[in-house]
């Protein structure tokens, strides 16, 4: 952890609820405002400035963080957003989304591995994040959580599986409101020098389009993550 002192904080040029922390050595780091002050989720640095506590957002650990570092243009998640998050894992990214949407927002967090979800419960729920609804279920079967989930503004998927686009579209058909956004983390490149989009990537993009979404932003995540891209889509 850096011992360099934080000197200033600025809100992100475009995205409300996302911040840049400036350090005395001139470096800046991405951060969100801690919804549960004093508590950490994944060993991230906590920073107090002007009586407000921020959590540094590590782009090497969170692909949404990496996308923002790489100049994501459209960030559909803001204060008050309702989000369906598929592939919540131990809650690294969910924690920052929870900071951003605040107490008027909501994140339905779906994960199917009991083992990682146990960690999620410790990291997110036991820490008192009241805007998170934990759902231990398989995202391939959206009817499993039909009683819990209501209309969402954003459907996010990062399940590290082939056919993510189909899973996401199936969920969007049930839960996404009109004009809502989707965000996908897709395995993008063959990691060799050619940097050709992989077959999977092309297939996933085709699926999204076939299911009625326009792709409005696509961001590669190097150097934070060499293999993935983050794609934002919208359906009217």
């Amino acid at each position: 952890m850096s011992s360099v002192r934080a000197v200033d904080v600025k809100e992100h040029e475009k995205f409300k609820g996302v911040y840049w922390i400036e350090f005395e050595d001139g470096s800046t780091r991405l951060a969100t405002r801690n919804l549960t002050p004093g508590k950490r989720v994944y060993g991230e640095q906590l920073i107090n400035l002007g009586g407000v506590e921020y959590r540094v957002w590590n782009p090497y650990r969170s692909k949404l963080g990496a996308a923002i570092m790489n100049k994501l243009e459209v960030m559909p998640i803001g204060e008050g957003s309702k989000v369906l998050y598929l592939g919540a894992a131990s809650g690294t990214t969910v924690s920052h989304v929870s900071d951003i949407v605040g107490l008027s927002g909501l994140i339905y967090s779906v994960e199917f591995s009991p083992r990682v979800f146990r960690e999620f419960m410790q990291n997110i729920i036991d820490q008192g994040r009241l805007n998170v609804i934990p759902i231990l279920a398989d995202a391939r079967y959206p009817e499993q959580y039909i009683s819990l989930v209501k209309g969402v503004d954003v459907a996010y998927i990062d399940v590290a599986q082939p056919f993510q686009a189909k899973i996401l579209a199936d969920n969007a058909d049930v839960y996404l409101v009109k004009g809502g956004y989707i965000i996908l983390v897709i395995k993008a490149m063959s990691i060799d020098v050619t940097k050709e989009p992989s077959e999977t990537f092309k297939r996933e993009i085709d699926t999204i389009k076939e299911r009625g979404f326009d792709i409005i932003n696509m961001i590669h995540l190097e150097p934070y993550d060499v293999a993935h891209a983050l794609v934002v889509g919208k359906r009217d």
């Binding site: 107490l103 009991p114 009241l130 609804i133 759902i135 279920a137 009817e143 039909i146 009683s147 839960y175």
Partner: protein, 415 residues
């Protein structure tokens, strides 16, 4: 009573709502708010098991003249059809009306149906979903402890069998290349060389290095030299094939063993995170296997956990032969077997006491308290090491380990 004879059911965490196809509310059932009870109901609905409330509600609709109900859950619709007569139950996901309901839930239906603020609704749904999840996590772990017990026993079986296979391999291949026996440090090295190189004439330094880089140059040349000068019998391909497949069997078993220990570690994270943190996953798994199940382990007093795996010695002691054992399988714990003999019993007792608490936490509360337990245990280890730094003065043995002759004494009334 109802305008439409087709209604659309929407399932919610706090109730069930029946809508017409224009989205207007026909009827609703708002659950009495009891998070625990609702969580149980939702877990049933989720897997398609109808609840009494749901069946009652649909019957009420049927009586009022509704002829068709849409439900957004296939399995649930099928099971309802088997229970409820006189009304048609169809499944569709999503229904048009369901979509509309969810779309306008926050702005319209929430207030209309429950008359509460979003913040209160979210609080309740959060409460319910947290209980639901904890119930599911518990169920997911439920019988897995028996798998863990089988897996750790398989590891022990594999160890026995691989030892047998390895000694047969050494004896057999030893006819051809007897010097290799003393030039390898473990069965794995031996089997890998036999499998990959086969005939002694293949043992050149470069081939050896390629087959097993971790040997290092120096040992590789020594083996190559030995091969060149070997006094062993020559062998033809046909004979060699049989030996090599035995070597392959050994190597495959090692791979399976590795996979099994990884599996055990993952499963222990799931089932018994406290025991795992305290004792390590393999020792923890052995304790579960010896106890019979995680539940049985959790119900054992610390004194029993302390001697699990030492039953033979224990029964011998009970029959009056020898001293009672100070530790069973927990002897495998490094802080115990590395400790001087006279400290072991004390450390074993302290570990068993913490393990008893850890097992109870894993079964009953699910709280992760192992870090605290471990700290307290480590403190006790330090204490034992300082207070009992010196061996105790020898005292005469309470009972001779075994009588020099004659039958063992039997306590009256005990077998």
């Amino acid at each position: 009573m109802y305008v439409s004879s087709t209604v659309y059911l929407v399932l919610d965490a706090l109730g069930i709502i029946a809508l017409r196809d224009d989205g207007s509310v026909v009827d609703k059932l708002v659950y009495d708010y009891d998070a625990q009870r609702i969580a149980n109901m939702l877990n049933n609905i989720e897997v398609g098991k109808p609840t009494d409330e749901l069946v009652g509600f649909i019957n009420r609709l049927a009586k009022a003249g509704v002829s068709t109900v849409y439900v957004e859950h296939k399995e649930l619709a099928r099971n309802l059809t088997n229970i409820i007569k006189g009304i048609e139950i169809k499944a569709e996901l999503p229904t048009k009306v369901g979509r509309l309901f969810r779309e306008e839930f926050w702005s319209k239906y929430l207030k209309e149906i429950y008359g509460i603020e979003p913040i209160e609704y979210i609080k309740r749904v959060n409460e319910v979903s947290v209980i639901q999840t904890r119930l599911k996590l518990k169920q997911a772990a439920e019988r897995r402890d028996l798998f863990i017990a089988q897996a750790i026993n398989s590891v022990d079986d594999l160890d026995k069998v691989s030892n047998l296979v390895a000694s047969r391999l050494r004896e057999w291949y030893g006819i051809h290349f007897p010097e290799l026996e003393n030039l390898t440090r473990n069965n794995n090295e031996y089997a890998a060389l036999v499998y990959k190189l086969g005939d002694r004439s293949n043992y050149t330094k470069s081939k050896i290095m390629e087959a097993l880089p971790e040997l290092g140059e120096e040992r590789a040349s020594r083996i190559a030299e030995a091969a060149a000068k070997s006094v062993g019998a020559s062998i033809v391909e046909w004979d060699l094939q049989q030996i090599r497949s035995l070597a392959k069997l050994y190597l495959d078993m090692q791979t399976i063993r590795e996979n099994l220990t990884e599996y055990i570690d993952d499963a222990m994270k799931d089932v018994a995170p406290n025991i795992r943190e305290l004792a390590g996953s393999l020792l923890g798994a052995r304790l579960i296997a010896l106890a019979g199940s995680l539940m049985k382990l959790a119900l054992m007093p610390a004194s029993t956990i302390q001697v699990l795996g030492a039953e033979k010695a224990l029964f011998r002691a009970l029959r009056g032969r020898g001293r009672p054992p100070k530790h069973g399988v927990i002897f495998q714990y490094p802080d115990i077997f590395r400790a001087p003999r006279w400290q072991r019993g004390k450390i074993a007792r302290a570990l068993a006491a913490k393990l008893a608490i850890a097992a109870k936490a894993d079964v009953f509360t699910g709280n992760f308290i192992a870090p605290r337990l471990k700290e307290e245990f480590m403190r006790r280890v330090q204490e034992v090491k300082t207070i009992y730094a010196k061996p105790p003065p020898r005292k005469p043995a309470a009972k001779p380990a075994a009588k020099p002759h004659g039958k063992p004494e039997r306590k009256p009334g005990k077998k």
